[in-house]
């Protein structure tokens, strides 16, 4: 895992919160929830990928 991955996740978080606030200002609460959920799913997929790499590294180390 590099610092780049953390920055990427942080960047997506910032963008999702900004779009969420824009949508909420426009009175689009439903779209805001959907967009936040989408951002969460994308970040979760990234985190799962990183975790998979981590456990694979631990397995290799333990052998």
């Amino acid at each position: 895992m590099e610092i780049y991955d953390l920055l990427k996740i942080a960047g997506i978080g910032i963008i999702v919160s900004l779009v969420g606030s824009l949508l909420s200002q426009a009175g689009r609460k439903e779209q805001e929830s959907l967009f936040t959920l989408m951002g969460f799913m994308i970040v979760m997929m990234m985190v799962v990928g990183l975790m998979t790499k981590f456990f694979a590294a631990v397995q290799t180390f333990a052998r």
């Binding site: 960047g11 963008i15 999702v16 779009v19 824009l22 949508l23 200002q25 426009a26 009175g27 951002g39």
Partner: protein, 200 residues
């Protein structure tokens, strides 16, 4: 790496362009609706007091409106320029005829259209270039069968009704502008940034 930077730049550029063009369209609508109301007010006074021929009345209205609305009304005036006998205040005069005219803005082939057809064609040609919605253009199109075809008072009543409807549409457009402008301007930019981040 260079390809990624170029790709990211292209995505961001496209997203920014989309956002700004959406916002421009949104912010242009109230202005154009206001311009259209001004034009109709001029047309009303030309019909009520000026007894001006319809093409000339439309040209005055276009001059008062300015911008893309002026282009639309000028086009309508040019298309009907040959109908010299039809004045804006003509009562019960059929407007389908096409006598020759000395008007320099007459189309090269000299073919003049009825006010109804001219306005319809002008709306078709220039409508998509404006920020107006189909509902706004429908209000204008509803005037097509009336202009130059019915009595002065009847035309005035229809023009007043159209102005009233446009005022309502303008209020709605201003509310929409206040509500959605930021979202339209910055939403696509942020989504573009998210796409670049996810794909990088």
């Amino acid at each position: 790496m260079l390809t990624q930077i170029i790709g990211g730049g292209l995505v961001m550029g496209t997203a920014t362009f989309v956002g700004w063009s959406l916002a421009t369209r949104l912010s242009g609508r109230p202005h154009q609706l206001r311009a259209l109301q001004t034009a109709i007010a001029v047309l009303q006074s030309e019909i009520e007091w000026g007894q001006t021929p319809l093409p000339a009345a439309l040209r005055s209205a276009a001059a008062a409106a300015g911008g893309r609305i002026a282009a639309l009304l000028s086009e309508a005036a040019v298309l009907m320029a040959g109908v010299a006998s039809v004045t804006a205040s003509d009562s019960e005069s059929p407007s389908g005829g096409a006598p020759a005219s000395t008007d320099p803005s007459l189309p090269a082939d000299g073919q003049a259209l009825s006010p109804k057809e001219a306005l319809r064609q002008a709306i078709q040609a220039h409508g998509p270039r404006t920020s107006l919605t189909t509902e706004d253009l429908a209000i204008l199109a509803a005037l097509a069968p009336i202009l130059g075809a019915t009595g002065r008072h009847d035309q005035n009543r229809h023009l007043a009704l159209a102005r009233e409807r446009l005022t309502g549409a303008e209020a709605l457009a201003r509310a929409n502008l206040e509500r959605y402008e930021r979202l339209a301007r910055w939403g696509p930019v942020l989504v573009g940034a998210a796409i670049v981040l996810i794909l990088s």
